[in-house]
């Protein structure tokens, strides 16, 4: 805990706190944290969520292209390398389906869970504890699962 406190005081990392604040405000203001927006998305009754994710991805692909070409460099002057996601159809498809079931039921993916905690939504604490339990259960059972 002492080290953790030290790390918080370490200015090197404090910038990520502010990036997080920005992210929390953006998702809140875009109503992405609303259960109803997720329901509406899966009902194909609104363009809103598709617009948010779609425009972020289109601009993001341009951004990553520029980073990889070295047109944009990191703060440290380095070129970025992005560790590729793990290959394997089963892990991505089955894991994805399980995630999607939970996303549509609780109306919140991991980011919005923490935003709703900041909103003071008491019930979200149960969802977050469930998510921690779920992450634990995955690692407890992964040797039996197809990847």
């Amino acid at each position: 805990m002492v080290t953790f406190t030290f790390n918080i005081l370490n200015m090197k990392n404090i910038k990520f706190l502010f990036v997080g604040v920005l992210f929390g405000i953006i998702l809140s203001k875009a109503e992405v944290i609303s259960w109803y927006r997720i329901y509406e998305m899966f009902k194909f009754q609104s363009f809103h969520m598709y617009g948010v994710i779609g425009s972020a991805v289109v601009l993001g692909s341009i951004l990553i292209f520029l980073f990889k070409k070295g047109v944009i460099k990191t703060y440290f002057g380095a070129q970025i390398t992005i560790d590729p996601k793990k290959k394997g159809f089963s892990r991505n498809m089955i894991g994805g389906i399980i995630f999607g079931l939970g996303w549509a039921l609780g109306g919140a993916c991991p980011g919005p869970m923490f935003i709703l905690l900041g909103r003071g939504a008491l019930a979200i604490i149960i969802v977050i504890l469930g998510a921690l339990l779920g992450a634990f259960l995955y690692h407890a059972t992964k040797k039996f699962l197809p990847h």
Partner: protein
Amino acid sequence: MDFILQPWPWYVAGPMITFVMFLLFYFGKKFGVSSNLETICAIGGAGKLLDFFKFDWRKNTWNLLFILGVVIGGFITFQWLTPSEVVALNPQTIQDLSELGFQNAGAQYLPDEIFSSDTMFSVKGFLILLIAGVLVGFGSRYAGGCTSGHGIVGLSNLEMPSLISVIGFFIGGLIMTWLLLPLIF
């Protein structure tokens, strides 16, 4: 100021999410929220039960600070930047939900039918919240990412695993929304 107080349209929010991704890349990190679940498990002592959680979580301090910032961002927005929580839903959505028994859909961000304190302390309500969380936590770590890591970064990086995962997200979401929610409610 008025613009900040209004709900932001997708064409503002989407590019700003890309900006967040840019800031993290710029500072040498990669955007991804769900890995924090493992980090918090490790801090909570899960290493005593499973060797996987014996990793040195201090290397992820930056991401914990990010998530702490996210909580603060939620607090700030609800305290000062959200004069109204009315969500302008499609009228059809409101009607579909009322048929499921959801009253006043869109009157605030979260439906009372799932998130009110009365509901959360009922057996059914508690289980819905807990199971939703377990599915999200289990699924995101199984797939190796959630909406941010796969949906935003992975797709932007044109990665096949992320495309498969996002297709999975949608299959799961559609099954829940169209088939299971009408059975649950």
